[in-house]
């Protein structure tokens, strides 16, 4: 029917008006973000081995890593002293970062994580370079991983740990 569209348009707007608004009252009500939200990147410093993979894979070179070698004295008599990398500086310049997440993908030791935190705006662009202390602090905001599906295979780490427990017992 001609002109039916006119009535339909009015009906749609009226129906929308009677429904609840989608607006999030953000500063008053915290947004409920899903665990995989790409807010900021956190560093789990203890896991980092200074392999430099993240810094090399980063497309816009926003990860700065400094380290030095340290000799660990031999654990038992006659053994060789070992060398170990010690992380001095780990910084991500979020003014350059484009949130591609490649660093997190390539990290072989699970040292980098996404967290949904997004409120780290600054008045000076230089302050957007987060040093390792700050990146470590973000770790506390990393949400636990979502549970696996009901009949999924358990993760390798969990399986290994359970096995170890069984052997001990």
């Amino acid at each position: 029917m001609r002109g039916g569209g006119l009535a339909k348009g009015l009906a749609i707007t009226l129906r929308t008006m009677t429904r609840r608004a989608h607006t999030a009252q953000y500063p008053d009500v915290r947004p409920d973000l899903p665990p995989r939200s790409r807010g900021v990147i956190a560093l789990f410093e203890e896991n980092c081995t200074v392999c430099m993979l993240c810094a090399r894979e980063c497309p816009d070179w926003c990860i700065y890593i400094d380290s030095h070698k340290e000799t660990v004295p031999a654990r038992e008599e006659g053994a060789r002293a070992r060398q170990r990398n010690v992380l001095d500086r780990f910084a991500i310049d979020f003014a350059l970062c484009m949130y591609c997440g490649i660093c997190i993908e390539v990290c072989p030791f699970d040292a980098l994580f996404w967290t949904p935190e997004f409120e780290y705006a600054e008045y000076d662009v230089r302050e957007l370079t987060h040093e390792k202390g700050r990146l470590r602090e973000w770790m506390w905001t990393v949400p636990p991983p979502p549970p696996l599906d009901a009949n999924a295979e358990p993760s390798k780490e969990a399986a290994a740990a359970r096995k170890a427990l069984e052997i001990e017992a």
């Binding site: 006119l6 348009g9 009015l10 749609i12 707007t13 009226l14 929308t16 008006m17 429904r19 608004a21 989608h22 607006t23 009252q25």
Partner: protein, 320 residues
């Protein structure tokens, strides 16, 4: 003599108060209704409760803004244009009846006067568009002039139909003569009047003179600060005027389900706000018309319908 002067002053003051408050209320209604129709909340902070003071805050903000007049503009005309655009609506407020006896100035030819004054509003727009020295402003002004001249015709014709039915040009007289079955009898005229009224006040979907996606902001492009606020006020006052005229002419003004004499003003206000809501609703629901569609709607739909309504009115009038 003294009493007459005091009464006149009271009436003028009442019209002034209505002029200053009703457009603000309609503006707030627009903020909220439009937001909710789009799944938003609209202003929520100013004034605390659901942003009721948003427009007051806007006004304060506009007053503080810098007054910019383009270097190439015709400065006098540019400065006078907002006043010329606003004044006609202020005068119309004096003539709109709120309840039985509650009217700024009841004139024998009230309807005619109102239509004449509303028609003058286009001069302010032309002044603004030409004096801005901006081609988008000029285009907006030319579009506006073509639109207003065209839509003046169905606007006046549909009003003439109801004046014919009532046998008077006085606005309170038309309300007195109004009967509920006129809702049906004068329905086409009411629709034509409302639509061409929307075009007269350049509200979406008839806002081609402003058309922010094509003409920057049409004839308002160069305006800032208080003068821009005056144009905004004129727009909201225009909504109130068109809604009030539709109410008075076609919806029976102060006639309600009961207690017309005590509560007449309430019925009028309720109807005015209901029609204003429809104005806002139409704005949210429909996209802007194209320039040729605009003229087509006017000359091929509204004018013939208005003329047919005139014939119908005359026939019914003669038969009864």
């Amino acid at each position: 003599m003294g009493r007459i002067v005091i009464e006149l002053l009271l009436r003028v003051a009442g019209a002034l108060v209505a002029f200053l408050t009703l457009p603000l209320l309609v503006g707030q209604l627009e903020h909220k209704a439009m937001a909710h129709m789009q799944g938003r909340l609209g202003p929520m902070y100013a004034g605390g409760f659901h942003g009721w003071a948003q427009l007051v805050a806007d006004g304060v903000k506009f007053v503080q803004k810098e007054e910019i007049v383009p270097a190439a503009a015709d400065k006098t005309v540019f400065r006078l244009a907002p006043a010329a655009g606003l004044l006609p609506y202020l005068l119309v407020f004096l003539l709109l009846p709120l309840g039985p006896g509650l009217v700024g100035q009841a004139l024998d030819m009230g309807l005619f006067v109102v239509l004449a004054i509303v028609g003058v509003g286009v001069v302010g727009m032309l002044m603004a568009s030409w004096s801005s020295a901006n081609k988008y402003s000029l285009l907006g002004g030319l579009r506006g002039a073509a639109q207003l001249l065209g839509y003046e015709l169905p606007f006046v014709l549909s009003a003439a139909s109801v004046a014919m039915a009532a046998g008077t040009l006085s606005l309170p007289g038309i309300v007195e003569a109004w009967r509920p079955w006129w809702l049906l009898w004068q329905a086409p005229a009411a629709v034509v009047f409302f639509v061409s009224g929307l075009a007269e006040i350049r509200r979406p979907p008839f806002d081609m003179p402003i058309a922010d996606s094509e003409l920057v902001f049409g004839y308002l492009t160069e305006y800032t600060g208080l003068r821009f606020a005056l144009f905004l006020l004129a727009e909201y006052a225009g909504i109130v005027v068109v809604s009030a005229l539709t109410t008075v002419l076609f919806l029976g003004g102060w006639k309600g389900p009961f207690a017309d004499h005590q509560l007449g003003w309430l019925w009028t206000l309720v109807k005015v706000f209901a029609v204003s809501f429809v104005v806002i609703w139409v704005r949210v629901a429909y996209p802007r018309l194209r320039e040729d569609q605009l003229q087509r709607v006017c000359w091929l739909v509204l004018v013939p319908v208005a003329l047919a309504q005139l014939v119908l009115t005359a026939v019914v009038k003669v038969v009864l």
